[in-house]
Symmetry: D2
Subunit: 435 residues, 4 copies
């Protein structure tokens, strides 16, 4: 976790305090269930709730762990210091450490997912707002970095919206997948603990019981979770890259917002660099790098080994914290992105009329010229624009082979921008519905 | 694609013949829609279907492409050779190559997904059958490779079933995500083609129209697809690793089926190596390696660049073919896996009674011995078994501190295997339902 | 392996014919050594060479393998068909299949490395030539996609040369690492075969004996090999990305060579897309994707398992073939890249004089103005250029706070391009030496 | 960075204090060089050294950065607070932030490499010691997890030594590659600063001047560095996996050292789990996960973008800290690994004599039996051992077809263990030389 790329809400989920609080809740709820089953005395179960508002002493737990070399035992020992060793003696009965650890991890991932979903909502809202604001702001569409045909800035925002909305739906799925808990004992057979305890604890924590666990909750769930975050990160990079391209000196169709006090460079004060989106490009790599180890974590030996644990200690917090930060940074970039419609028009007209060649090609075909001939005619005139800076429309009007097929009015009509934007409403309706 | 790791049905999806057939269908359906719109003559649209049963000549298309350096133009030229250049002149009108290419890729991925789902069904069926067959076959559960508590072979199969079933559900989602098509023209604005064409073509091909495309269908869909395959591959590795462990000489609780003519090793004829599951471990790596490039493919410059294309030419076929092969190889392994229940019992009893220590620990606690003392008592006797080969139950019965808390009958009862298997039915019901 | 992204020389290395030829040579040389040791009769060893010019029948070997399910036994059986089963009976004596397979793989990788080195030499030669050709072709340097200070096209080529030269040196190391062979028997103890056989075979094949093998040659060597290819691929992407940026419509400082018959797009004939470098971007991803499975291959169970094998069957050929193709494609791009020096100058002057702001800042500081004040003065005038299209030099000359510190002549001097290119020779000497 | 997986020496390298100290040294040495060139007054250069023993106030620098949003400017402002703004005004003259940042990163990576090399030396020393200690401790070699032929524990340690030694040599190369510095100004042209400054600073810091930089030091160097760490991590996993296998209940040929106070499990006190090596398996994944983003960092736009920076802020510290911790954890495991030679023998004899089948096969062939027949004879008797628990030697002696070819004495001789260990010295000499 890099402090500068973190937000406190997400960081808090991964604090020792938050972790021990969840451990405590699992143990306390489990005692309730055990008492209901008659396995342990009701009084002891109730006594565990004495620590409900206690603050667990992380340093003290670490101290005990240094001796026992076992984190859950250390916590239970500390818990006994809060509620008395007599009342504490039924705590954790029939459970194994992983019942606590794995269920806790999933609670944390679910909470992390909720924060990420909120971040995605902010990004979506920003994209939607900017899409409608620039629905009709014409700019040139580019394939291969080369001018193709006109599109609008609103469509650019709309497609990022659609992509991010897909990412959101995927995260909802991944959250659902990870929202399971297990209290199934040493190898998952419930030999020492009744399945009712698992059901009760899960219900209290908003989880579903893991249908079959083996001390650990199966790691394909976590793999899917991190893979999903990786796809979302890639979409962030996709949006960031568009902004970086738009801000390049020669294009300058948009700029990241540049606050007054900010210095772009110690050496070149005029520079306004797209540093936020470049940073997002890097952050996307950091989120993605968790995917492979998460996939490698799926294979555990027999009922479990602990190879996954160190990986999760790192990627659990780091990946969710980084993605959360990236989503909010992205939202800020989109919300405040400075758009330059005039530059968009100027860029589009750089090669005078050439972007309309597709329409002309089509018109020639429809006028009965063969496909091959149409292609040749358009190419011939296009090359004059490309190589000599001629005006495409002028050249077409002067080409007898062209005018033999198309009237001057027909040629003129091919250069109307409205032709390209006529279906923007249709697309917006597909993306945003009727809103 | 490695021939030895491929099955013909999946290979066929990626053949040039299959690809050109889909291209043809897209073009023909598009002509129908254009005719319905009145954009092109109905007669010309109908004429395109003359090639319905034609076999396209791949070598001829390659020959044309060698000149034009453009695959779609080469195909269209060849198509004209089938239906006549006059009738062919409205084909592809208003479309761009990517309309054909991207829609085709998604058709192929959908078909690949269907084959993969069938493969997963075969694996699931095998796991279910074997789970029920060995529902009560007791074996020792192992955590960290070390004996823990008893479980059953049926539970092992059942957890793999549950994991594979989750993978299947994910693939259904991924298939749904990839089942889109786009006929939206040069930069996705429908400037040159009515959205109705896209709707018609997609409907005919079993796809949904891509809500917003930009010449290309957005690659986050494909990233999610390959990420999902990567998770499934990891689950295959998980199952394969279990088999490999079971087959090790010292464990020998199961073996891959060993056909009569097969030679395990040129040098050591007695060896029966788990080569299929070792192979599956490697194949899982091959499937997983497509995930990162698929994620890197998401970011395209502006409305599109073609960097994704070469990646997809490789991972499209290779990943689906490898995973398909792996699924069927895995199904075969599971179906024919030779299980050795006697060895399972022998292994469990290797450290005489020690695996019951958890029960004894619990019993002592419940009998009023403090947690710390119970732990000490169990550990003391356990170490005698571990270090001197003593029998755990015998030692316990001879330990006055233990017998002060537990009667001989109570101690005896702790060594009953039924204790560990009593919830197997519950778990099976969770995993398989009432079937 | 994708045919369109392959070159025949590299493909040939991985053909079954080439593989069996190496197998044969290993067996024949091993027989020589065994005969020299007196382990087998000299006549039998000599007899093996009868097949020296034989063409092994791949289909026949496959046929035998279908029965034996063992590739080396299949080959040996076929070899016996060539030299007679009597003479063949000492072939492979004391060896294990992996002795043949692993040594062969390394021979193939060494040969592949040699071809790759030749490809890198071609790229280096092209970069060097173009660097010298455009040593003094001034263009604007860009950081963050934003104009910074002038540099030269020659320096761009020179830095790619330096990077590729580092890649070459790394590949020489990786080739050296992989150039080992092992003929050490079942678990590498030489129990059944004298180390002299290994020494002899390796010497004949240009390899070093693997100091300690365990049936297999340790896979960290291969991991390093593929990791090195991954770094080289990333450098290819780096160069490709520069070309793609240069070719963008708004920049147009260079273009990939565009042959006469080539069609850029079926719809927009004027477009010249940087498809080769976009393709290289994708190919780089394909090469890189082998790195992770190669790293995962390092861990084998005990003396060996066969999980690495399927991975290597894929990434061995695919990665080397793809990288070889990419290197030659890149060389072609560099050799024929069309450079537009006029556009470079036009781009540099887009923001009139602003790129010289760094020099002015420095001059003010050196003239005794405080760092903070200098920054403020430069920023003030720079913003007029940026926002109003003013000329930077004119503004500076009109700013009394500036002219209080710098004379008009001093200001003029700051706009001399020679200032920026004065160390180009120094850098070239560092990169290319005195050549 | 996960505190529990870190060692203070490596953590210190990445502290803000250490970073600012290097920044300071670069600036101070640069001033010396500038003074020597006559660019700035000698007195000012000397004055910078007033801060030689100063402790930079990280909180204060952060405070300034919060305003300027530029870290290097914040540092320089703080430095001026130490040495006076008048003396400070020539500091950083002609330099750009990246001159400081990139050179600093490489100094940190070089220092990290030195610590890692020391860690590897500790691992190597441990492996060497244990190899010699168990040079002749016979154990069964296993391929595919199945018993093959005898080897020795010393050979196991020796091959890990050889692998780690290769890793060390690679890291020496990677350290060499990363040991460069750049003080070349805004786009690397030395327009504003003489190359002598770079030469001087690099010399003082133990670096070589980067031959050609472009504001940034090219990232292929860093990619190679992290790729190398990834290979080393994979070798750690390889060793860790061997230990995990040896410690499995059924094998128990070795155990991680188990200290007195340590509790293996809260539920099963007898369990001694290989948690350190399982942890190392996870840590290896964490180290490896930096490889892909490091490769993705190689491609920067034009002379630089800043996408690499956030990646390096994470993987710079995290990867080196994790690998450093892993190396020392591994060294501890190897140093204290408890070896059970008796269990090794017991395991080897599990299938009575079967491991000698390869020798018998060879003997039959050498006695003139055809390869196919020899194989059949060995297989026939081996199957009796495998299936019925017979003794291999006894069966062979009772098989007339076998005794027709081999005398009883010859058969007896095939079961001599010395046969398998006769070349251990040869191999040790290859690996350790004459030491």
């Amino acid at each position: 976790m890099i402090p500068r790329y973190s937000r406190p809400d997400m960081v808090a989920i991964w604090s020792p305090e938050a972790k021990f609080r969840i451990w405590y809740e699992i143990e306390a709820h489990a005692c309730d269930a055990q008492a209901e089953l008659g396995v342990i005395p009701k009084a002891n179960a109730e006594a565990v709730w004495k620590a409900k508002d206690a603050e667990f002493d992380v340093a003290r737990i670490d101290e005990i762990e240094a001796v026992t070399k076992h984190d859950v035992i250390a916590f239970l020992t500390h818990l006994a210091e809060h509620i008395g060793s007599d009342d504490a003696r039924f705590v954790h009965q029939g459970m194994t450490s992983s019942d606590v650890l794995d269920t806790t991890l999933n609670v944390q991932l679910v909470r992390a997912a909720d924060i990420l979903l909120a971040g995605m909502d902010r990004v979506l809202e920003a994209l939607k707002t900017r899409a409608h604001e620039h629905k009709d702001t014409v700019r040139i569409g580019r394939s291969h970095g080369i001018h193709a045909e006109p599109t609008t800035m609103g469509l650019t925002f709309a497609r990022f919206y659609a992509e991010m909305a897909r990412g959101r739906a995927r995260l909802v799925n991944a959250r659902e997948e990870i929202a399971t808990g297990a209290i199934s004992g040493a190898v998952g057979t419930f030999a020492n603990i009744d399945p009712f305890v698992e059901e009760h604890v899960c219900k209290q924590l908003g989880l579903k019981p893991e249908p079959i666990s083996t001390q650990v909750i199966p790691r394909d769930r976590h793999a899917m979770f991190f893979a999903t975050l990786g796809v979302i990160a890639s979409s962030i990079e996709n949006i960031a890259t568009e902004v970086r391209h738009m801000q390049r000196t020669e294009v300058l169709e948009a700029e990241e917002f540049f606050s007054k006090g900010q210095k772009g460079s110690s050496a070149m004060p005029h520079k306004r660099n797209p540093v936020l989106t470049e940073n997002l490009t890097g952050l996307a790599r950091l989120v993605r790098m968790s995917v492979i180890p998460a996939l490698e974590n799926v294979t555990l030996w027999h009922e479990r080994d602990i190879s996954h644990s160190s990986v999760e200690r790192a990627i659990g917090p780091d990946t969710t914290i980084t993605l959360d930060f990236a989503l909010h940074r992205l939202a800020g970039v989109v919300e405040k992105l400075v758009i330059y419609p005039d530059n968009m028009l100027a860029n589009m007209n750089k090669f005078r009329g050439l972007v309309m060649s597709q329409r002309v090609l089509l018109a020639l075909t429809q006028a009965g010229v063969s496909r091959e001939d149409s292609y040749r005619l358009v190419q011939r005139n296009a090359m004059k624009v490309w190589e000599k800076g001629a005006d495409f429309k002028t050249e077409l009007l002067a080409d007898p082979e062209v005018t033999a097929a198309l009237s001057p009015a027909e040629i003129e009509e091919k250069f109307d921008l409205g032709y390209h934007t006529k279906h923007v409403d249709t697309i917006f309706k597909r993306v945003f519905g009727d809103s």
